[in-house]
Symmetry: C2
Subunit: 220 residues, 2 copies
DNA sequence: AAATAAAATTAGATTAGTCTAAAATTAGAA
DNA sequence: TTCTAATTTTAGACTAATCTAATTTTATTT
């Protein structure tokens, strides 16, 4: 039905769409997939012919309901495999992305169903990203960006926006993994760096660069 | 390094090689992969350039040490995933082949290593096929073809040669699954059909067509 | 040993995905 | 509002894998 390459384009377009309301630009897609605008244009025509995106020359592209369903099903598989890799095979959260990137294209729906059941129907992947259900519904998660916080308070780390091994390893070292509870002690007015304190009283500083990529929930 | 298609050709050539000593013929490969001889010829040149096979025009092909290593590593992955699918996700033995066919091409060696460890280092897959180790060693298994037996005796079913869902479902219905203990009561001189009896005294008849595809070991 | 049948190879196309370089279009600036 | 710069698209070519049809080679049979 859809090739692996088409699936990767749809995933990229879906992710870029959710970052802003406007149409997704050819160059954005090219950037995100490390390919050329020429290749993207070709693929957009193909996806448009299959009614997976609405595409108008020079005007960028919007994903259709049908395309979104495909994208969400791939994202569901990706995140379920990430849970499998960390929870069952004990990989670290910074090691699973590339493997999940391959596993997500294995096509059996029954396999995904059984995997989901075996894992106990997880709602979030190891990076805190919500796992869409079979119908493409994404669980609401009340996550906010740490960088958007303007006042002190106590929070739990629930996810990340940057999934690169480098960033994940940095967070690991600083003790900023999902589930960690911390309080914002002070926010610097000049560079928006934050002074935060953990439950064990240890504290550290976080730059805006970092807080921009950390997702949190308020702590009960 | 190797593409999925190249891996599938190497697997086919490896399997065909083990059926006879001679070079593998272009048409055998085409038949086994449901493709044309023309396509096979093209691919043989490519594999030969990569030193994965020894190929001489019109003379058929032999797999090299290097090609065999690749084939065995794919076969290892395939069989480990089959164990995962049956033992962990509870699929039936006649359902796992196509999924394993896709999973075997996921490239991470570390993933295979962890999977192997998680499954408890199994030596055989659900169809009784031996799982090659990391170095490409295939465990000796003392298996024989049921159709080769010439005298009465007691045996255990240890595997099959035909992996098609139709055949596996037939065996399931007849109670001829791996692990089943039975005795050969009589072999018909005319059509080589066998009268066999199970431990619970029930008995059945097996045609040569069937016994040709059942692997057995002698029962302790 | 020549004729013929079977098998294998080559020639030439096709499809999916990609690229570079050139042309077209849009949007921002003077 | 015209010009310029940035973006996007087209044109043309390449690689991997495939096909059909034609040709070549091998093997068999008379």
């Amino acid at each position: 039905m859809t090739t692996t390459t088409e699936e990767n384009y749809l995933k990229a377009i879906y992710h870029l769409s959710s970052r802003h309301q406007k149409s997704v630009l050819t160059s954005e897609i090219a950037g995100s997939l490390s390919t050329t605008s020429a290749s993207v244009t070709d693929m957009l025509k193909k996806l448009s012919d299959k009614n997976l995106v609405e595409y108008e020359r020079y005007k960028g592209v919007r994903i259709t309901r049908k395309g979104e369903k495909v994208a969400l099903s791939i994202i569901r598989r990706h995140r379920l495999w990430e849970v499998f890799l960390t929870d069952v095979l004990k990989f670290k959260w910074d090691e699973v992305h590339d493997m999940a990137e391959e596993l997500e294209h294995v096509s059996s729906d029954e396999l995904v169903k059984r995997l989901d059941s075996y894992l106990g129907y997880p709602k979030f992947d190891p990076h805190g990203d919500p796992i869409p259900d079979t119908n493409g519904k994404v669980p609401a998660n009340g996550q906010q960006l740490l960088s958007e916080m303007t006042s002190t308070g106590t929070y739990v780390i629930s996810g990340v926006n940057d999934h690169s091994p480098a960033f994940l390893q940095f967070l690991e070292k600083k003790g900023l993994v999902p589930g960690t509870v911390f309080s914002i002690m002070e926010i610097d007015g000049f560079d928006h760096s934050m002074h935060i304190e953990f439950q064990n009283r240890k504290s550290t500083y976080i730059s805006k660069e970092v807080s921009r990529n950390i997702l949190i929930k308020s702590h009960a």
